[in-house]
């Protein structure tokens, strides 16, 4: 799957979980850019992403993400493997 395609799907998930239809993700987007994206909702996002792609991340993978680009890469490498 292409990076851009993953990004668009992540965007859908973010809009759904965070209940904010204005979200426009880029690879550089971080939790600081989206008001609703805090440590409480972060984990809801992770669960939704795991469900959507039927993958499971490790704790250290989740904690190493710095922005949406890292998340998309993590999804990509899980799907590719």
């Amino acid at each position: 799957m292409e990076q851009q395609q993953i990004l668009e799907q992540l965007n859908e998930i973010f809009i759904d979980v965070l209940d904010n239809s204005d979200i426009k993700l880029t690879e550089a987007t971080t939790a600081n850019d989206i008001e609703e994206w805090d440590s409480l909702y972060h984990i809801q996002l992770v669960v939704a992403i795991e469900k959507h792609y039927k993958v499971k991340f490790t704790a250290s993978e989740i904690q190493s993400w710095k922005n949406v680009g890292d998340m998309a890469n993590a999804v990509k490498s899980k799907l590719g493997a």
Partner: protein
């Protein structure tokens, strides 16, 4: 040594002058010696406790980094955590645990034989052990290289501005700064001094003044009723805010004078519109510590539970946070109430958004801030009261609508004076803070020397005439 003492003033001038006079390669040594002196002012022999954990964590960091297998890395991390939590357990929680065992024994008709420990809590223990743990955890996670310079690692734990009451720093922000060379920069030095002055103002003019009224209310001398309890708890909210954020300002300011940047610890917490938001603004260095090292790992591991993972993570983290503040059940209740409030906010977020978006924005914001403040004011009763007994009497008093004005004549003249001056100074503080919060005005203050002289001159006058010097108090957070 208290920041609000003459000793500290002399210490600060002496150390800062030497700091700028010495070549860079000796500065770490000066700061380390100064920090040891600062700490030993309280109870000299306790420096040995610090020494013990510093040595263990220093080697743990190096061993974690050079370990060949993940299991070995983990072993060294666990060793460091056990040493730090062990010291906390003995000095801070031993008697608390023992008391609870006694209670359990009595319940079942046994006698608890474990002896009581007669020790004084080392100052700032919870702060520097948390900062030390942050180091070994970050080395373990691969975010920080192990520090090889033993003196600089010691300084990371002992740096006097933040040694006894934070901000609880992270190695990624602090360690490299001790290797950097900072030069004299007039503007930076002045801005650091101004921050210190503002911190001292908050402490001496506001917090220590309000504390006279708060202490009188909690002592129960004048009985408890709605108005009196409301005044006492209202004043306590601002007392603890000015006390602790004042301390942080002096810490940040004195570090800034020398060129160091410490992390921001407060961001106008009473502007928060939710409790969740409040914890992003109050004691930020502690809440991010708990979030990074306790809450997030718990919730990640339990994420199969869905939303309940967050609820469990919040309540458990705030249970520990309560315990971190003090070894006693009232602190734990205080923490758990925060955890429950945040869980409620989390579970009802969508519903609240839908329901209250119909209100005008200003009304929604004002009401939200008011509710948050009243909640804080209420749960702080458990934090401030010396026992459950007092806490319940105070809460009962909240619903006792009778006879407030009758007791007023019974107040001592000093108490009446502090009530009046406290209210007046608090009003000043609120106005000052409103300007600080306003970007346009705070920029104006930064750019206009004349305005700065006027504001700080006025503050100085208030300080001289209304400062609470006879009632110089230790900082509330020193006990943690």
């Amino acid at each position: 040594m208290l920041f609000n003492s003459i000793e500290f003033l002399i210490f600060f001038i002496f150390v800062t002058t030497l700091y700028f006079g010495l070549p860079h390669k000796f500065r770490w040594l000066l700061l380390l010696i100064a920090s040891c002196g600062f700490y030993m002012f309280f109870k000299p022999e306790y420096i040995l406790i610090l020494g013990f954990t510093i040595v263990i964590d220093y080697y743990a960091g190096i061993w974690i980094e050079s370990a060949k297998t993940p299991a070995a890395r983990k072993r060294f991390l666990v060793m460091s955590l056990i040493a730090n939590i062990g010291v906390l357990a003995i000095f801070k929680y031993y008697n608390f645990i023992n008391d609870n065992i006694t209670g359990l024994c009595n319940l079942f008709g046994y006698t608890n034989q474990i002896p009581y420990l007669h020790i004084i809590l080392p100052i700032g223990l919870s702060f520097h052990t948390f900062q030390a743990m942050s180091y070994t955890i970050e080395v373990y996670r691969g975010n920080q290289k192990a520090e090889r310079h033993f003196g600089i690692y010691s300084l990371y734990v002992m740096f006097y501005p933040q040694l006894v009451a934070g901000p609880i720093e992270r190695p990624q922000n602090m360690l490299h700064q001790f290797h950097e060379k900072f030069t004299w920069d007039y503007d930076r030095v002045m801005s650091g001094l101004r921050l210190m002055a503002w911190g001292l103002f908050k402490k001496i003019v506001i917090a220590d003044r309000l504390s006279i009224v708060v202490d009188a209310m909690y002592s129960g001398t004048y009985g408890y009723n709605t108005v009196w309890v409301f005044i006492g708890t209202f004043f306590f909210a601002y007392q603890i805010y000015c006390d602790f954020s004042g301390y942080s300002d002096i810490a940040l300011g004195s570090a800034r004078v020398m060129g160091f940047t410490l992390m921001k610890n407060f961001n106008f917490p009473f502007q928060a519109k939710t409790i969740t938001d409040y914890w992003r603004r109050w004691h930020i260095s502690l809440s991010t510590w708990f979030s990074d090292y306790l809450y997030t790992p718990i919730v990640i591991n339990r994420r199969d539970w869905g939303k309940w993972a967050v609820v469990f993570g919040l309540v458990f983290t705030f249970f520990i946070s309560g315990l971190w503040h003090g070894a006693g059940w009232p602190f734990i209740i205080w923490g758990v109430l925060h955890g429950i409030a945040m869980s409620y906010e989390f579970m009802t977020k969508k519903w609240r958004k839908k329901t209250f978006s119909k209100l005008p924005v200003w009304l929604n914001n004002t009401l939200s801030q008011l509710i948050v403040f009243l909640f804080l004011q209420f749960v702080w009763i458990f934090f401030r009261a010396d026992s459950f007994h007092t806490a319940f009497n105070v809460i009962k008093g909240l619903f006792n609508y009778e006879n407030f004005p009758d007791q007023f004549p019974a107040f001592t003249a000093a108490l009446r004076y502090s009530l009046l001056v406290g209210a007046l100074m608090l009003a000043h503080f609120l106005v000052f803070e409103k300007f600080w919060r306003n970007e346009k005005w705070s920029k104006k203050l930064d750019s206009s020397v004349g305005l700065r002289y006027a504001v700080f001159g006025y503050m100085f006058l208030l300080f001289v005439f209304f400062g609470s010097f006879k009632n110089a108090q230790s900082f509330i957070y020193f006990q943690f």
